[in-house]
């Protein structure tokens, strides 16, 4: 069984290096992308087991990529952890508003983590999805 792949999409180099190191040293294979467009492309190339997506990126940002992911047959079941610099309530509110405009057909992300995440906490959340996905998605 190969290493599980985690796609990290964040426009900040710091965050990418931090998360890459975190997952690499925990036995996973990080795949890095610095914006939504690159993120979608790499997601299609590598079919990751988990995606960590920064919401607050310039331009369309993480939400646009999230919408594309959920519209993609092969990628729509890949769990997504959203990273956001704003607090819990504001974030879920804005997400709700966003989903309303999308006629409600967009599911909520699997988890939400406030930026800048504690290494242990992020890893713990990530691993709950990676363990689940070994049952469901692994071919």
């Amino acid at each position: 069984m190969g290493q599980k792949r985690i796609l990290v999409v964040d426009d900040e180099p710091h965050m990418r290096i931090f998360m890459a190191t975190l997952f690499e040293t925990s036995g996973y294979k990080p795949v890095l992308a610095k914006n939504g467009a690159e993120g979608i492309q790499k997601a299609r190339e590598s079919t990751p087991d988990l995606i960590i997506l920064d919401v607050m990126m310039p331009g369309g940002g993480g939400v646009e990529m999230y919408r594309q992911l959920k519209g993609d047959k092969t990628l729509k079941d890949v769990p997504v952890i959203m990273l956001s610099a704003v607090d819990d309530k504001t974030f879920s509110h804005s997400l709700k508003m966003f989903r309303i405009t999308e006629n409600g057909d967009l599911p909520e992300p699997d988890a939400y983590v406030e930026k800048l995440p504690e290494a242990d906490k992020l890893l713990q959340i990530a691993e709950t999805f990676l363990l689940n996905s070994s049952v469901n998605v692994q071919e």
Binding site: D11, H14, I17, F18, T21, G59
Partner: protein
């Protein structure tokens, strides 16, 4: 207690009779037999009401009326007129007499005139009271408002600062984590990467502290006679590598006709660095545009006569959303998420303000942004540091 009343008539009989009638009505009565005497007494006692005969030897009633109204417009003056003196009576009304009563004096008519005078007095008093109350109220309320705004501003500043520091601290924590992993696993690559992150965050803290320091100082521009294009060339040299790193073209279009003017080259240098840093960031934001980023720095002579020089920084980056444009100069406002401190444009505006210059922004979302600064003086500053700037070190010419 009723008002003081000054009764002026050259006929002693009338003074006596009227005096008694007025005392009966509750007034405190003072009397004078001519205009001069009346005026003297008026100045001493400031009665609220003057009752004066129109025809008197020496200074007549009309003249007395004029003088009293000049000195004390709020005093009510009632004229006493004889038969066939209607012209004079009307004339007195023109000079703001309250009313007139004709001789022989009918008690009821006098009563009406006095009542009118009293009503006017009390109206004026009330009006003055209201006005004063209103002024006091406005003062009190504005003091409260200023205080609460100040508190709000401090609160915002602290919140903004806390946010900026939290971001950098978070970054540092990430760097420390990577360094730790490097040490733990003896991995040189992690060590180097992590150390690099830490160094970058230290630089961010330093730059933020400098910006803050700069902002907290109410700094007087160090006016020097210098060529605005020299500053542009310096900034181009400084920002060139950054633009190249982000694959953004940085061009300059200089108006070589720009004269040497008085301004603070260091301050303007900082403004341009801030604006160009933002412009490059806007262009390298690949999510909104796939065109090649281009930043143009221009110098120009403004059309308006108010300023001798102007700079323009134009980019073809993402542009600023319309609703956000009014906020860009606000403290700690940033569109760059966790990367921006919101200090750059705030500092830039402050420097321009200190120059008595003007800064404006034009932006089309998705097409690009243009910042314009107009500034400078053709004459050195007259007061204070004018002496020191008379020998400008700004004579470094390109």
């Amino acid at each position: 207690m009723k008002e003081d009343i000054l009764l002026v008539d050259d006929e002693e009989g009338i003074r006596k009779v009227l005096g008694i009638a007025l005392s009966d009505r509750g007034y405190k009565v003072l009397t004078a037999e001519d205009g001069d005497g009346a005026l003297r007494l008026f100045r001493e006692t400031k009665p609220a009401v003057v009752l004066t005969d129109i025809k008197m030897p020496g200074m007549d009633g009309i003249e007395l009326l004029k003088r009293v109204k000049e000195e004390s417009p709020d005093t009510e003056v009632i004229m006493i007129t004889g038969h066939g003196e209607m012209d004079l009576a009307i004339k007195s009304l023109k000079y703001e007499a309250t009313d007139f009563v004709t001789k022989p004096i009918n008690d009821d008519v006098l009563g009406i005139a006095l009542k009118r005078a009293e009503e006017r007095l009390s109206m004026k008093r009330q009006l003055r009271e209201y006005t004063q109350n209103l002024e006091a109220l406005v003062k009190e309320q504005s003091a409260k408002l200023i205080e609460s705004e100040r508190a709000a501003a401090v609160g915002q500043t602290v919140a903004g600062l806390a946010h900026a520091i939290k971001n950098i601290a978070g970054g540092l924590r990430g760097g420390v984590f990577v360094v730790d992993k490097g040490l733990e696993l003896g991995n040189d690559q992690y060590l180097r990467r992590g150390w690099d992150m830490v160094k970058k965050d230290v630089a961010r803290i330093r730059s933020m502290a400098l910006d803050l320091l700069n902002f907290s100082k109410a700094r007087c521009p160090d006016y020097q006679l210098a060529d605005p294009n020299t500053v542009v060339r310096e900034v181009l040299g400084l920002m060139g590598p950054r633009a190249a790193k982000y694959d953004v073209t940085l061009d300059a279009e200089l108006d070589e006709k720009l004269p040497k003017i008085w301004f603070d080259p260091e301050g303007m240098h900082r403004c341009l660095v801030n604006l160009i840093t933002n412009a490059i960031d806007a262009c390298s934001d690949v999510t909104c545009a796939d065109r090649k980023g281009r930043v143009v720095l221009r110098s120009f002579v403004p059309k308006s006569q108010n300023y001798p020089a102007g700079y323009e920084v134009e980019d073809n980056g993402c542009g600023i959303a319309e609703e956000v444009v009014p906020l860009v100069f606000h403290r700690f406002f940033s569109t760059k998420g966790t990367k921006g401190t919101g200090l750059g444009l705030m500092t830039t505006k402050k420097i321009v303000d200190e120059h008595d210059g003007e800064i404006e922004v034009h932006s089309n979302h998705g097409e690009g942004t243009r910042f314009l600064i107009r500034f400078g003086r053709t004459e050195p500053q007259v007061e204070g540091d004018g002496v020191s700037s008379a020998n400008p070190k700004g004579s470094r010419i390109a």
